[in-house]
């Protein structure tokens, strides 16, 4: 039995991969001009990630509110934030990928995005993931 563990162990290591972050923005996009944000809650989100994003935007000196997508027009803000979260099960549920997008209010166009991917062995808390992605988003 001992001899048969190694292929499985190697396969597990190969499949876990490495943590990575990435970010990009539209040509000429300038995130410093956006001072007020509205974070739209993803309907399937049970972790209230929109509140965590809004809190962390506020802690960066920006104004941010959050909630469901308003039925009657967007609040008067400079930009809208949307996100996409992916979760996996490995002993406990953990967030494996978080993508955050900044959209223009009028056109709805995405002007910047950032994301973080973390396998099970390098997992972070939701707050840690949000902080990592926002840092990547604003440092570009």
């Amino acid at each position: 039995m001992k001899r048969n563990i190694w292929p499985l162990l190697l396969a597990c290591i190969a499949l876990t991969g490495c943590a990575s972050t990435s970010a990009s923005k539209a040509p000429g996009a300038d995130l410093t001009k956006y001072k007020t944000y509205y974070v739209i809650k993803r309907t399937e989100d049970d972790a209230d990630i929109e509140k965590i994003i809004a809190d962390q935007l506020t802690s960066r000196g920006l104004q941010a509110a959050s909630g469901i997508a308003p039925a009657e027009g967007m609040p008067a803000v400079d930009a809208v934030v949307v996100y996409d979260d992916h979760w996996m099960w490995d002993l406990t549920m953990y967030m494996t990928r978080l993508s955050i997008y900044v959209r223009e209010v009028d056109s709805g166009m995405i002007v910047a995005r950032a994301e973080s991917f973390r396998p099970s062995l390098q997992r972070k808390t939701v707050k840690g993931m949000v902080q990592e992605v926002l840092t990547k988003l604003f440092e570009q």
Binding site: G17, A26, P27, M109, V111, R113
Partner: protein
């Protein structure tokens, strides 16, 4: 199950999954079937948001591949007299590869690509048009056996769709 059987199953699974390959620009060139109103001026292209393809993940589109495909598509459709990547021209067309997603569909492998396009008059710096264009393409086992190939073909189709829609919408501006 014996070790040899497990290895055979694993080998078959790996063969069917395959390695992701970068998307070539020639695969995403789009030419609308309808008549295009062509501008007599040149356009300069600026692309961002492209990603490098990792063999262990899905195929992705690089900035260079998308720029080359956009240039060829514009010239073939005669939307502008000439298209160049970077440099100066009467018009400036920016494209931002904003989001690639693989929505769940029952009928096959789907890829969704969202590209933000913005056209500016370089002389006046006035934004003439902008749009967030989404392309969705679905492939099945008839298109390719390996799932990585189906995903690549689906992303190529989605990219062609966004370029085609962009040409149609810019054509409708009737630019001089």
């Amino acid at each position: 199950m014996s070790v040899s059987r497990v290895l055979v199953v694993l080998g078959a699974a790996l063969a069917l999954s395959g390695c992701a390959t970068p998307i070539k620009s020639s695969a995403i060139v789009a030419v609308p079937a309808a008549q295009v109103h062509g501008s007599g001026s040149d356009v300069s292209l600026l692309i961002s948001g492209g990603q490098r393809t990792s063999p262990v993940h899905w195929s992705r589109i690089s900035d260079d591949a998308f720029a080359s495909a956009l240039k060829t598509s514009i010239e073939k459709s005669q939307l502008f007299a000439q298209a160049r990547v970077g440099g100066e021209a009467r018009y400036q067309l920016n494209a931002y590869l904003a989001n690639i997603d693989s929505p769940d569909v029952e009928s096959g492998t789907a890829m969704r690509l969202e590209v933000g396009y913005a056209l500016t008059d370089a002389q006046t710096q006035k934004k003439l048009w902008s749009a967030s264009i989404v392309g969705i393409h679905i492939t099945t086992r008839r298109d390719a056996l390996a799932v990585t190939d189906r995903a690549r073909l689906a992303l190529e189709g989605a990219a062609r769709e966004t370029i085609q829609k962009m040409i149609e919408q810019v054509s409708a501006l009737n630019l001089p």
